[in-house]
């Protein structure tokens, strides 16, 4: 067996941090998927496509604003809204007619939407690899634990918790958030107290997709933006949501942490088989708790 680099404490620490920052992206994307799953009961396979659109939109916006710092920040802020716009159109035109259908239909429908969005992205942006440069403030590395740690990953470690807190405040402190929680459990009864559930669902869907877009925009500087990134993320996001507990935001956070950390520690322990580790973790969790670690709303 050919193990990776010699395992020092500092290497473990840095890999842990890299794993955690990767987990933040996974959390932002999968919390959106989980929210849509919890409130609307729609397993949105096209969620990954919206993440990909977020990344491509960030690329285009970044260029449109002339790159550099300003381009980066504007792209980061605006691309989630572009994705939210796409989601709103999809919801009002298609999804809102389908909520009462059975899950298999919804799965097939969102799968079709994933293929369509994938082709649309290909038509608009082509099959080339795109990349975004980070602004100067986030470029380079910082010495942490005797190794160097990319500043951008540190930035992700700050954004992730902020999104978690924001989502928590939204679902627990705002009226629309509380209504969304009620609608997740009993749609008809929310209707019967005089609330137009259709718009609540539209809002919940758009918010979930906004998070996919935000995840895409955030990941863009760390990878090559290209076709196919939708497939990778959607598999991971569904696994995370499943091990966390369907529709549970904290479950999505926990699942992302497990996924991200096992992935990066796997790279350290056994690089050739690194990809196996997070899936192994998923299997272990599901054997131990088949319905996910935290309470599922289903």
């Amino acid at each position: 067996m050919d193990f990776g680099q010699s395992i020092t404490l500092s290497a473990v620490g840095v890999h842990l941090l890299v794993g955690l920052s990767r987990a933040m992206i996974l959390f932002i994307v999968s919390s959106g998927l989980s929210f849509v799953l919890g409130v609307l009961r729609v397993p949105n396979v096209a969620h990954g496509s919206l993440y990909m659109i977020g990344a491509f939109a960030a690329f285009t916006l970044n260029n449109a604003f002339g790159g550099g710092s300003a381009g980066f920040w504007l792209a980061l802020v605006l691309s989630p809204f572009v994705v939210a716009g796409v989601a709103l159109v999809a919801e009002r035109a298609l999804f809102c007619h389908l909520y009462q259908r059975e899950h298999l239909m919804l799965l097939l429908f969102t799968f079709a939407l994933m293929l369509i969005l994938g082709d649309l992205v290909k038509m608009v942006w082509g099959a080339d690899y795109r990349s975004i440069t980070t602004p100067e403030v986030l470029e380079g590395s910082l010495p942490i634990l005797g190794s160097s740690f990319p500043k951008y990953n540190l930035f992700l470690l700050i954004v992730g918790p902020l999104v978690a807190v924001g989502l928590y405040l939204f679902t627990n402190k705002t009226k629309i958030g509380k209504i969304a929680r009620a609608a997740a459990v009993d749609r008809d009864m929310v209707d019967a107290i005089g609330i137009n559930v259709s718009w609540v669902f539209a809002f919940a869907f758009v918010l979930g997709c906004f998070l996919a877009g935000l995840g895409g925009a955030l990941v863009a500087p760390t990878i090559s933006v290209t076709l196919g990134m939708d497939h990778d993320i959607i598999i991971e996001a569904f696994l995370i949501v499943t091990i966390g507990g369907l529709g549970n935001m904290w479950g999505a956070l926990l699942g992302s942490l497990i996924f991200g950390v096992t992935q990066s520690l796997g790279v350290l322990l056994w690089p050739q088989f690194a990809i196996v580790f997070p899936y192994l973790a998923v299997v272990i969790v599901l054997v131990w708790r088949p319905t996910g670690m935290l309470k599922s709303v289903w």
Binding site: V185, D188, M189, D191, A192, I193, N196, V197, V297
Partner: protein, 232 residues
């Protein structure tokens, strides 16, 4: 206030209501008596738009509401208390009431503090999750939730089902108090005693059809009808 005329309702292919007609005049408590499965709840759901009738018309304050979405019907001034309670279990008592609030009805409108005044037991457990409440507390909460929408007509579907006699007595008093405040109530009940004490007029439903209707006096005296359609 409410006129239901020749309503036919289906669940999928099965025909549940066969030409139900009834009336609830303003300011009265009108009860629908019937056994389990007689069609009481379906009548309530048909009025609320949750199981829209396939035939027939429902008028509220003179306007036809058949075919409207439940949220529209609620906004017109009909409050709905379902038989299985259906509190929003993940939300606290206060949150359940808060999301139902619809300001209407001027200075006498129901607000959170008025509901807590009316049901003091709820005020004491404001922060508790609704899923952890007792049956009686959940029932008060569903009524409070309906009141928060400031309705003129309240649909109460078996409010006393499965509750302890003391709680039933308390609810009975509160329902009478609501009528005294000017609310019209359509009450579906299996519990004859409660319904006969509270109501001004009564309907007897069996197998999806109205078998009898009259003043509550008539119904009290007509033991034949009660034995035929209501005894288990």
């Amino acid at each position: 206030m409410l006129e239901v005329e020749d309503v036919h309702t289906y669940y999928g292919l099965s025909h549940i209501l066969f030409g139900v007609s009834l009336e609830a005049p303003a300011g009265e408590i009108v009860c629908i008596l019937g056994r389990n499965g007689a069609g009481k709840s379906t009548t309530m759901k048909s009025i609320m738009g949750l199981t829209p009738p396939r035939r027939g018309t429902i008028r509220f304050k003179g306007a036809v509401i058949t075919g409207l979405k439940p949220y529209r019907i609620s906004r017109l001034g009909i409050g709905y208390v379902p038989d299985d309670r259906r509190v929003f279990a993940d939300l606290t008592v206060g949150e359940n009431l808060e999301i139902s609030e619809r300001a209407r009805g001027g200075e006498h409108a129901w607000t959170l503090s008025r509901v807590y005044e009316f049901f003091p037991a709820l005020g004491r457990i404001d922060g508790r999750r609704a899923g952890f409440l007792s049956g009686g507390e959940q029932q008060m909460l569903t009524i409070g939730r309906a009141l928060m929408t400031n309705p003129e007509l309240l649909l109460l579907d078996e409010p006393t089902e499965g509750l302890a006699p003391m709680v039933v007595h308390l609810l009975e008093e509160q329902i009478a108090a609501l009528r005294d405040r000017g609310l019209t109530v359509l009450l579906a009940e299996q519990n004859q005693k409660v319904a006969l004490r509270l109501s001004d007029r009564g309907y007897v439903i069996d197998n999806g059809s109205i078998r009898y209707h009259g003043s509550i006096q008539d119904l009290r005296e007509n033991e034949d009808v009660r034995r035929k359609y209501l005894l288990v």
